[in-house]
Amino acid sequence: MSELLLQLQDLHVHYGVIHALQGINMNIERGTIVTLIGGNGAGKSTTLRAVSGLLRPTHGSILFEGQPIHQLAAHRIVRRGIAHAPEGRGIFPNLSVEENLMLGAYARNDREGIRSDRTKSLALFPRLAERLRQRAGTLSGGEQQMLAIARALMARPRLLLLDEPSLGLAPQIVQVIFRIIRQINAEGVTILLVEQNAHMALSIADQAYVIQTGKVIKHGPARELLTDKDIQKAYLGG
């Protein structure tokens, strides 16, 4: 068993009176792909937002590389090495592709490193390299998703949080995106992936957690969950 990168311990998050996360426990090992699956409103995105500091948990702790990060502001968490590609992509539509990428490296100061990561990201997404000067809002949905991932990589994260990268994309593009996610993982980046497309997610993940109404109801190796009768019925369409 390898080293733990991220640990969520009894994590609770409230939106006002709504109790969105009700004691989530997760262990994520370095170098793996872990997926969160579950229905709408189960708390998948909320979990990611709590990890990246966009939401402050009301109870419980988040340990990244053994250090507690749940009290830190979002900008400090980015500096620790966690990048978040938010749901709905969250690209900056009126800025150019180039500017979007540079904002991904916002928390960094090492010019040389940023330049080499820019080259690496563009090699991963050659389509973006052709459109550096273009306004990001004019990209197609798939290209915008590529930009969101490339931008997150510019932070040189050790943990990459991806929120529904397949949302609204044609099946072919989804294939491309998932191939690249695997490629990023092969280079040593640990990935926490939230997906509606459970079949796709389970097929590339090492571990999986199933979330329902703010609680983890099942977890285990992704391959086992793929063949699990209950999961098949609930999330994989029989």
Binding site: H75, R79, F92, L103, Y106, A107
Partner: protein, 360 residues
Amino acid sequence: MIRSIFAPLMVLLIAIGVHGLVGRYDDGYWINQLTIIGIAIILAVSLNIVNGFTGQFSIGHAGFLSLGGYLAGSLLYYGSVMFFQTRPEPGFFSFTQPFDRMDPTIVWWGIGDLFFLCVCLSAGLFAAVAGLIVGLPSLRLRGDYLAIVTVGFGEIVRILIESSQRQVPLSRLNRADGWDLVTGWGSAMGFNYIPKFGSLFWVYLFVGITILTAIRLKYSTHGRAYLSIREDEIAAEAMGVRSTRYKIQAFVISAFFAGIAGALTASSQGTINATELAFMKSLEIVVIVVLGGMGSVSGAVLAAVVLTYLPELLQAETFARYRLILYALVLIFVMILRPRGLMGTREVWDVFRRRRGVQG
């Protein structure tokens, strides 16, 4: 090294050029027009840093303008007597008369010039501090809510100034105590007899500095963080941008230049009146920014020139009666034809670069 001083040097040369050339041949009309236009440019470009760059909606810019103007006015009026016992000698740069009527013995850099520079900077800092005080609690608000707070701020400034004491006449100045001077901001009568240091040189020096600051900001890592807040605040936070802090910073920078614009207004007209710098004045600046294009520095400059000079142009006899209607029509048509403003979020030079890019 050369690159870093090139732009500031250009600003200085342009300011001296405008001052020397226009001052040389003009009898006062163009000096006056160019001063008003220059001040409008400073106001529009500085408001654009908040409204255009960070995408927050502030309609209280006239409040900062008033604060800077009154501080500068009282420093120039009371201060010149206290520091120099007389009105300080303006030098070449602060001389607002045409050259042929200028005293040939005049010095190039009078002690008054230095004093005036300090007054401008104090006016800017004063407004910037006010910006910080307003910004700290209110910039956690978004959209309409922030707009309402800034309107409130502008009105509070106006009412406070209007309820201040009468201005102390110079003849009674030696009998006045410090408190009279601090509270003697001229009530609703306005603050008058301000020494006229605000020459074209100073106006265009600060126009240049404002534009340069805005452009440098826009194309820096720092400025990109401002733009990202406008585009998507949550995504910006996820990138590690501290949005509240940057919004406050933008607000303070913007207020600083509005304060300087106030100092220039007070010292070029010789008078300043908070009643004229009410909500409508703030709205005028917002209109310039929206018309120019949110976030476009060159758009703001362009719109400031057009919208400041247009009413003047329409003064011509044939139009005079329909002046306000024509002004409104221009606004309506621009917004229909170019709903994102004259320049959108782009700059004049982006348009040219794009053309080149397509060909090449």
